[in-house]
């Protein structure tokens, strides 16, 4: 038992004990935000590896034209599960892991507002993930419908589709409960003096992300529920013969889907907004405008969804509306990029691994934003929809954007979490390998898309062969580079050199200034006073 947990009795020693359970039961029952954060991070890494394996398999198949290893059905299952696992299993949980570790420490709270619910939010994930992975072993295999799960294709799948639908329900539950927890923690648990506008930007981005999650995850749940009843109970939501409409599915899905891409991106923006000032040894430029820009992005993200649907048949007025609304989002996004660059301007810059990943993020994410703008233009998108250009676009924003931000954050906070220092040289090598291989995979996909290569097809025209070979080689390299990452993290935890109290001289949020390194199991049992 711990001192915080037992406020009405006598204080127990807070060290050594983890609330009465030990061994595996400690992790299963824990209510400690740091334990739960750690579990989220490792879970995310496991899913990242599984999803990554699928990506390598996809690229193996695409190494040469013609069918090499898999039949088309299985290829489709791979792309579908790769997408779902990476989005829901890897990227979203990694940032929830950050949120758990950091938000209570950054706002001076003893823990999350609902510590047990927090445990449940995490422990829903492995079960949902098992459903997803199990679907491969059902009759008919995993669904081969693409991560967007469009009707009417979903009506034709085997029972793997039902597994996936239920997995989405449970994943959504986890996200909603986790988000309610984060919102409540930020609104109600801040230390005296920690006003909203003094919070580190990471907390702000998560507050807004959590709001988006609560707003759109239920909508996705509704969409897949309708899919389920269309499949098994004779409803006709997405069936024109019954007066329904497959396009309706797309509207509902993308009403969730576009905010979802910002759910993926915003917490990464928060991480970058803390890493860049630390290594520029300057406060963040334009803090308030960052907060407003983040809010503006969140609000706008609700009215742009149909830019994914320009080609399904929509009135020109609709196309125009969604085109203008989408290009509008570039403005607050531009404000952010401008602020990050200006923070670096005339700073005393050093380029340790977190900063390298942050710079990589800055370049690559901006590139992804640009291709987003290209795709936002209706006449252009009509050419590019469902080609590899779209694949290139979203991997620039999700991998070089969100994933690079996660890497930056992991290297940045690893000393705080473990009390040990990672190997800086290896970290830098990891960055450069990832950066080079990433571009090798995806930069060439812009060319493929512009030349007309469609996505989600296991075979292709001979003329696409060269770029595909380069892309596949890049994918194998990127996969190997992540083994190096695993090695760096494990060797840091097991025999890293002890980290200094303040390993990054420019870091100035509460977890660095008010807590020892490594952070103690319970922090801020009495709230700090923030001036």
């Amino acid at each position: 038992m711990s001192a915080v947990a037992d406020t009405h009795g006598h204080a127990h020693d807070a060290h050594g004990h983890h609330g009465g359970y030990s061994g595996i039961m400690r992790w299963i029952t824990t209510t400690n935000h740091k334990d739960i954060g750690t579990m989220y991070l490792w879970f995310s890494f496991v899913m990242f590896s599984i999803g990554g394996l699928m990506a390598v398999m996809i690229r193996m198949e695409l190494f040469s034209p013609g069918l090499q290893f898999f039949n088309p059905e299985f290829f489709n299952q791979l792309t579908t599960m790769h997408g779902l696992i990476m989005v829901f299993g890897a990227i979203m949980p990694v940032f929830v892991g950050f949120a758990n570790w950091l938000i209570p420490m950054q706002i001076g709270a003893p823990d999350m507002a609902f510590a047990r619910l927090n445990n449940w939010s995490f422990w829903l994930l492995p079960f949902a993930a098992s459903l997803l992975v199990l679907s491969f072993f059902m009759p008919g295999g995993a669904p081969g419908v693409g991560w967007t799960m469009y009707a009417p294709l979903t009506a034709q799948m085997g029972m793997g589709m039902d597994f996936t639908i239920f997995a989405i329900h449970i994943l959504g539950m986890s996200s909603i409960l986790g988000s309610i927890n984060i919102i409540t923690t930020i609104l109600n648990m801040r230390a005296p003096g920690m006003t909203l506008m003094k919070m580190p930007l990471f907390c702000w981005t998560w507050l807004i992300t959590a709001y988006l999650l609560v707003a759109v995850m239920p909508v996705l749940a509704g969409a897949v529920t309708m899919t389920l009843t269309d499949r098994h109970f004779g409803t006709t939501f997405f069936n024109a013969a019954g007066g329904g409409d497959p396009v309706l599915y797309q509207h509902i899905f993308w009403f969730f889907g576009h905010p979802e891409v910002y759910i993926i991106a915003l917490p990464g923006f928060g991480v970058i907004s803390q890493v860049i000032p630390a290594f520029s040894r300057k406060p963040l430029f334009g803090y308030a405008s960052m907060v407003y820009a983040t809010s503006a992005i969140a609000i706008l993200s609700f009215i742009v969804w149909a830019h994914h649907m320009y080609t399904v048949g929509m009135p020109v007025t609709g196309q125009l509306f969604f085109m203008y609304a989408t290009t509008l989002i570039a403005v607050p996004t531009g404000v952010k990029v401008f602020n990050w660059v200006t923070t670096m301007w005339k700073g005393s810059l050093t380029f340790e691994t977190p900063m390298l990943f942050a710079c990589g993020f800055l370049f690559m994410f901006t590139l992804g934003g640009f291709t987003g703008l290209v795709l936002a233009l209706v006449p252009v998108d009509i050419q590019l929809q469902d080609t590899y250009y779209v694949v290139a676009h979203f991997h620039y924003v999700m991998v070089a954007g969100a994933l690079f931000a996660a890497f930056a954050g992991i290297y940045f906070w690893l000393p705080k979490w473990t009390g040990k220092m990672y190997n800086e040289t290896l970290g830098k090598i990891h960055f450069w390998l990832t950066m080079i291989f990433f571009n090798m995979i995806f930069f060439v996909q812009h060319f493929l898309g512009l030349a007309g290569m469609p996505r989600r097809i296991p075979d292709y025209n001979l003329m696409f062969e060269t770029w595909n070979k380069i892309s596949s080689l890049g994918a194998f390299g990127m996969g190997l580079a992540q083994l190096l990452f695993l090695y760096i993290v494990v060797s840091c935890i097991r025999n890293g050199k002890p980290a200094a109290q303040l390993p990054w001289e420019g870091a100035d949020s509460l977890e660095w200034t008010h807590l020892p390194t490594p952070a103690p199991y319970h922090s801020f049992e009495t709230p700090p006073v923030v001036k």
Partner: protein
């Protein structure tokens, strides 16, 4: 500022209580997993799935009884002060918001069918190419639906149900006032009235479904009208049922002397939920039954 600081101090009279570890969450996950697995099997004509569903459901009930039981014990033991209370309020508000969005998806489907997809299927183009003779009108089961059906009229049971739910919103408020005034007898009475109104609503709804299936030939599979009708009213009815169960639990807690005039968030949370269910019904009554 001084005022803000002092209210904050009032709210935070004691340490925030961070609860002890407990095994119930993972039991909840296991139960959901079992139920999902079982349902997937049952939906694909494998009867054995029922075993898994049943096991999961029993586990879920057990987990809820233990988890909620523990929280209630802690609450009555004075573990939760004003500070925690604020958390509960934020938490419940956002939970209800998420529920609103869930219903939003189905209302969206309803509006889409009425405004776009059904009229679209009756354009000259569609008529020439696909569905000659289909005319757009609401309610519609779509061009591919051959059987006759009658829509549900708004002015019989549905209107009565509106009255029932609206009054139950009033009675639960009376119950709340009496809780604040520490009039325990009246509190129990008004709360019981609320539950009774809720249960009557559910019974009427069940009757209406039977009526629809047997006399109106209106089924879940009656095109997009049947789909939206049964999914919207069905999910709503499910929420009313949950709300009635929660109110019943609260009633027994009141009977046992739980809650204080100035400290009874569980009561308020359930009352909020009840009002939410009420508001959703108004939307249903207007857009599903009436217009």
């Amino acid at each position: 500022m001084a005022h803000v600081a002092s209210t904050q101090a009032q709210v935070r009279q004691q340490h925030y209580s961070v609860p002890q570890p407990m095994p119930w969450p993972i039991m909840g996950s296991t139960s959901l997993f079992l139920m999902a697995l079982g349902a997937a099997f049952v939906f694909n004509d494998m009867r054995a799935g029922w075993v898994s569903i049943a096991a999961g459901f029993v586990l879920l009930l057990y987990m809820m009884v233990r988890w909620f039981g523990e929280v209630i014990r802690e609450s009555e033991g004075g573990r939760y002060g004003r500070w925690e209370d604020v958390s509960f309020r934020w938490g419940m508000s956002f939970f209800i918001f998420s529920e609103v969005m869930f219903f939003g998806a189905f209302f969206g489907a309803l509006f889409w069918a009425r405004v776009y997809s059904v009229p679209d299927l009756a354009t000259l183009e569609s008529q020439a190419l696909l569905w000659s003779g289909f005319s757009a009108h609401w309610p519609s089961a779509g061009p591919g639906f051959a059987e006759q059906f009658s829509p549900m009229s708004a002015w019989g049971i549905p209107a009565l149900n509106t009255l029932l739910l609206l009054s139950s919103g009033v009675t639960v408020t009376f119950a709340h006032w009496n809780l604040i005034a520490n009039q325990r007898g009246k509190l129990l009475l008004w709360l019981a009235a609320t539950v009774a109104l809720g249960v009557t609503f559910i019974c009427f709804q069940a009757y209406e479904y039977i009526h629809a299936y047997h006399e109106l030939n209106l089924k879940l599979s009656t095109g997009v009208y049947g789909s939206t009708f049964f999914m919207l009213t069905g999910f709503h009815g499910f929420h009313v049922t949950l709300g009635a169960i929660m109110l019943t639990v609260i009633w027994f807690r009141c009977l046992k002397g739980h809650f204080k005039p100035d400290h009874h968030f569980a009561f308020e949370g359930v009352a909020w939920y009840w009002h939410f269910v009420d508001v959703v019904w108004l939307g249903l009554f207007i857009f599903v039954y009436w217009l």
